[in-house]
């Protein structure tokens, strides 16, 4: 199994909706730096935007770790969203198309998953939720 190596990283505190645009810009800088094409960039930034909004809405904000990573010959961006919110009761249900506990369109998590190459979610009731995504440069 190939190892994922972190080339560069950065973390951002997200507390209010005004933090969303600067965060998206930072993700874009990272994606541009590894030479990611426009379509993959757009998918990554859109996924990031969905997840950061979820974090604000359900988790009351939190921390995002932005990393440029490499695995073998592949370069990519990994984003880890960590909140200390109430957690998700039923992750399997939250990952179903059309499901939403809030008043959004209900495409949040499954839609976001389709935009990236790797998607991982962990949640504990009363402790918070951590979502990690990877978009490979050529993925």
């Amino acid at each position: 199994m190939k190892m994922k190596i972190v080339l560069n990283k950065d973390s951002m505190q997200i507390e209010k909706e005004q933090d969303v645009v600067p965060f998206r810009n930072r993700v874009k800088e990272y994606a541009v730096k590894i030479g990611m094409g426009v379509v993959n960039q757009t998918k990554l930034i859109t996924a990031a935007s969905e997840l950061v909004r979820n974090m604000l809405k359900y988790g009351g904000g939190g921390m995002v770790l932005i990393e440029a990573i490499s695995e073998g010959r592949d370069n990519g961006i990994r984003l880890t969203f960590r909140d200390k919110g109430p957690g998700i009761l039923d992750i399997a249900q939250a990952m179903k198309d059309g499901y939403s506990s809030g008043k959004s369109l209900g495409i949040g998590l499954p839609g976001t998953k389709r935009l990236v190459n790797e998607f991982d979610i962990k949640s504990a009731i009363g402790e918070g939720t951590t979502v990690s995504i990877i978009k490979w440069k050529n993925g």
Binding site: E17, Q18, V20, V21, R24, N25, K28, V38, V39, Q41, T42, K43, I45, T46, S49, E50, R53, D97, S104, L105, I107, G108, P110, G111, T112, R114, L115
Partner: protein
């Protein structure tokens, strides 16, 4: 407070979104536009999103809301200038932009608006004189 300017051109309202919107700005635009449609009696709304590098589900919902609200107020909405990467991402995300017409660019968007309200255009032009406020 920051606001997205809304221009009036004849029976249409034009909005060019030049910056990435944060939520408040987008919801302000939504309510400003509906009020402008009411105030001016505009028959069409043209929204240029060519400068938007992403449209997420929130922004998609705002565009859809503007379309539905304007429709209730008897105005058509056309969204123009979507970047190819944004279109690809929207479909993969599962967002259909229901209720909103789209056109490739401003010119085609204007043609589409004219075609949509074409049947009533004649009488409206005559009334244009007394619409000054």
């Amino acid at each position: 407070m920051d606001r997205i300017p809304i221009l009036r051109m004849g029976h249409f309202l034009l909005v060019t979104i030049q910056i990435d919107l944060y939520d408040r700005l987008a919801t302000n635009l939504e309510s400003d536009l509906v009020q402008m449609v009411n105030k001016t009696g505009a028959r069409g709304v043209l929204i240029d999103i060519s400068a938007l590098s992403i449209v997420d589900s929130f922004m998609g919902r705002i565009l859809g809301n503007i379309g539905s609200m304007s429709k209730i107020m008897d105005a058509e909405t056309v969204v123009v200038g979507m970047q190819p990467a944004v279109a690809i991402t929207l479909i993969e995300l599962g967002l259909e932009l229901k209720g909103v017409s789209t056109a490739l660019n401003v010119e085609r968007g204007m043609e589409l608006l004219h075609a949509k309200i074409g049947s009533v255009e004649g009488e409206l032009i005559d009334e244009d004189e007394d619409s000054a406020e």
